[in-house]
Symmetry: C2
Subunit: 572 residues, 2 copies
């Protein structure tokens, strides 16, 4: 059951749903012509199908391991990584000044998704590097840029993010790693970091760690944190990897999935680091890195959803079992109503999550190209939704994929279970989905809900337009948008963020449900209301969209009843 | 983080929610006095806490394996099984005529749940034996009963169910295993069966397989299937295990979870079998076995939900991270609104699923004790809900348990991931949850919805009663019941079962949501509207119950739009 890159799907989304044309009409992204876009999609797609997808199972069965302090990666991963680097796929959005192609994030998002479908564990490596490139582009000195950017963009070196410590997870401000000035402009970094994805490997010449640490005069909490670049090998005068730095991998985690990706405990013992950005301003630099990484992780979820869907579809069209009299029946289990319901749910939600993520990427591109604040606000609003709904969809679709397989789904050889085991972490890392929801319900509504209302205005304007041709689809989307508007107003009216947080998770999911209705309606409109996308839109709008009402009822209950439940109540 | 058997929770449910007293007031179950019930719960609970729970992780890390044709079970499993057998916990509901205690299924359900919490992989063994005992009690000859029942009830021997073949899963009628008369009253069984849970072990003296096969004159499909008892060792004249039978384990599956439970491919090569029930009537006998096994599997899901909840709660009350100003704050992550929301959801749904399962068990007991048809109808109606909602809750709660743990949840040493990996299969085996939903939406409404409406009448009568004291909780439950009544009427009105099947899964979940509201309201009433159960009921009714509307909207869309989506559409 091979993976097939959904190139036509991206083209449709680019052309009709998220407006890539608007991006490529700007000077900044003028080079991303339709021909270029087509070539990128088809070449990246082919690599994913032919080179990366065959690495998925071997990575699961032969995890990365630590041997005498050295990380040995899974069979074929070195060759897979070489194909990614040689194809220029580590970062097609990096600035041309440093060897990048300067292409839109919209395109990067599609390419990242395809790589995630094909081999999530390996794709996580260049995704981390992409974030590092962005942080260095925005915050590092020219000297650091000159050494690091070309090598990261080419894939010769790879990058990691070092935030978490045992006592400092979601609460980054509690970190204890120290940075002491060496007197020569460098710093001695000392401390232990955990959950470092791709903390080491045996296929890049160097591994560059971006490490959050506290300077001697750093105050407690997040305001006393600085960001340092700490390479595995210290670059020599030519910029080549020189002597080993004072850091090592202590151990690798034994994880539920993503076995091909080594998750390291890293120890820094006075390792030499270079400051990135200003002292005590590390969180801002880290957020640059994390913001787009959140979109990237959302794309990971969507990529896995796509692959799990294809896998289940192939099984459902092949497996004969039982008989159901249906028009055009195939004799396979896809004829069964409940199997078809599952497949339609998987596909409809994958489309919704993908449209949200690409709309987010498009807003980032428009912000980059125009500098206009409303694009920045739109991107900021959509980012936590793209991350949380994308990864929740990855998990839900993978889980449904197991169910479509019946008993086979529980057997590892089938491959369906691996999707769920692999993708499960995406709802946790890069900020748990709970953190994403809190971000949406508080910081992303700090504008009084302006960005949210702008989105709702757009949804309702389109629904108004669609009333003429697709009234039965337009009306529920318009109604859902109104219900969501009330929920947004309720959120904005809460002065106490705890009141918002108590319903943040269902609020985020409710927003995603309504956005999904909007994009499905748009797809149906683009098709003239008749065709596969319109049929899928009808499925989504009549069956899945209604979920928003229950979610938004939950979202606006406030915190009082929740906190009336005491810890003692739970133990009762 | 030890597991604590929720003995008080069962007592509360027995006394106030599901009416165990009504059961023990019958002659048949008069021996189940309150003292006896208390003793059973506390003794079984202690065994689960002290003996079974420590076996959970070792079973995962050291799976059962096949060595030279012999199954070697996980470390400590033999001793764990011995404790189950010696305690009499294999089947406390078996009839006293055969060494059983004849206790109510309501009590068995609680005991099974606790064993599932403690060690699901091992508990699956006696659960299979329980089903076999029931099939033999109802359908086997006196001669077979005399040999097999005492040994199965004591746990000296264990039982399995052999239905599935590679081409015959949910479509059992497609099976090919043959049974040829030997001329001496026995039959020669030949064929291959897959997914045989506990197909062999190294701790019971004999393993008794109930095997579905076709006699030479059996017609194709389910009407030509007969049931045979095929022991691993053929009993000698004393009933002791004699010469080996013509069967063997071909291989064990490599599964996503439940590693401690050997899932076998079984080969029968002219193995000697004894007919159970009448020729060609095997499905009826198998349904006796499967019906209560479905309730048992629902209990597995609930048991795992309980354990995963306790595990997450312990973490959330221990783990310090971030600061949230809350009344009576503990400084641990349980103070965070979103964490508390997850824990409350886990606990509220576990309560709902448990109440449904115990209500189902109680109806079975009343049917057994009184023979009244309305109890049978109630039990039949609740069984697929208990199975599907119980297991879906097990999966959802385990998944949320991972999320509560954050990054730790993805690390296997934590133990949170194992709950999800183990419980995932419960939505698949003993009839997938899709099959359960189809059963509910078709066969369980063949009475024109009488059993459903009886349930709804009960829900609304209670809600009417509650209006006086708890109007804000009573009203939404009453309204939800009315919405559900409309959905039931819609279902009953569909002549074409495909129309029902297209919405069967959301229908089942919608029914469960409303039943959950009913039982939570009942708990609040029992407490006088003030206390931990009332606070949990408020959480459920205001936040989770609203989900029913979206589900029932989905449930009543019919099949036309669904089948308008062609297989080609999915590949688009």
């Amino acid at each position: 059951m091979p993976y097939r890159a959904p190139v036509d799907e991206y083209r449709f989304l680019f052309d009709h749903i998220v407006g890539l044309g608007q991006v490529t009409a700007t000077d900044r992204f003028a080079e991303a012509t339709p021909d270029m876009t087509a070539a990128i999609l088809s070449e990246a797609g082919r690599m994913c199908e032919e080179v990366l997808y065959p690495l998925q199972r071997p990575g699961d069965m032969t995890p990365a391991r630590l041997e005498n302090g050295v990380v040995r990666t899974s069979p074929g991963y070195a060759e897979g990584y070489r194909a990614i680097a040689d194809g220029g796929w580590v970062s097609i959005s990096a600035h041309p000044d440093h060897g990048g192609m300067g292409l839109p994030m919209t395109l990067t998002t599609a390419v990242n998704e395809m790589m995630s479908s094909a081999c999530l564990a390996l794709q996580l490596n260049p995704l981390m590097t992409q974030g590092q490139i962005e942080a260095i582009e925005h915050h590092a000195s020219d000297a650091l840029k000159a050494i690091y950017l070309p090598r990261l963009v080419s894939g010769a070196w790879s990058g990691t993010m070092n935030l978490t410590e045992p006592q400092a997870g979601s609460d980054v401000g509690a970190l204890r790693t120290r940075a002491e000035p060496n007197g020569d402009g460098t710093y001695a970094i000392t401390g232990q970091k955990i959950y470092i994805s791709w903390g080491d490997n045996d296929f890049t010449e160097n591994v560059c760690h971006l490490v959050l640490a506290r300077l001697p005069d750093g105050v407690p909490g997040t305001k006393g944190i600085s960001l340092f670049l700490v390479p595995k090998y210290i670059p020599d005068d030519n910029g080549d990897p020189g002597r080993p730095n004072g850091l090592h991998v202590v151990s690798l985690e034994h994880k539920m999935g993503l076995h091909g990706s080594p998750t390291a405990v890293m120890q820094y013992d006075g390792a030499t680091g270079w400051l990135v950005g200003k002292p005590h301003d590390g969180m801002r630099a880290m957020f640059t890195m994390m913001n787009n990484a959140r979109l990237g992780v959302g794309g990971q979820g969507i990529g896995v959803a796509e692959a799990a869907f294809q896998h289940a579809l192939a099984y459902a069209t092949d497996r004969k079992q039982g008989r159901t009299p249906v028009r055009g029946g195939t004799g396979a289990i896809i004829d069964h109503a409940d199997v078809r319901r599952m497949l339609a749910t998987m596909r409809a939600d994958t489309f919704a999550a993908r449209a949200i993520a690409l709309a987010c990427a498009q807003a980032i591109d428009m912000q980059t190209a125009t500098g206009e604040a409303h694009w920045a606000a739109r991107a900021a609003f959509l980012t936590p939704i793209a991350k949380a709904f994308g990864t929740d969809t990855g998990i839900a679709v993978s889980d449904m994929g197991i169910q479509v397989h019946g008993g086979m789904g529980f057997i590892e050889e089938t491959g369906a279970a691996q999707y769920l085991r692999d993708v499960r972490v995406t709802a946790i890392y890069e900020g748990t989905n709970g953190i994403q929801a809190m971000d949406l319900a508080s910081r992303k509504l700090m504008d009084g809900g302006e960005a949210a209302h702008a989105m709702l205005d757009e949804i309702e304007a389109q629904a108004e337009t669609a009333r003429g041709t697709l009234p039965d689809l337009a009306e529920p989307v318009w109604q859902a948008s109104e219900t969501l508007r009330e929920a947004v107003e309720w959120m904005v009216a809460q002065q106490d963020t705890t009141q918002r947080f108590a319903g943040a998770a269902p609020f985020l999911r409710g927003v995603a449900r309504v956005l999904g209705g909007h994009f499905h309606l748009k797809a149906a409109l683009a098709e003239g209301g008749d065709g596969p996308r319109s049929r899928l839109a009808r499925f989504y709008i009549t069956r899945l969209l209604p979920e928003h009402a229950g979610l938004l009822a939950h979202a606006t209950q406030g915190a009082d009843d929740l906190y009336a439940l005491t810890p003692e109540d739970f133990a009762a």
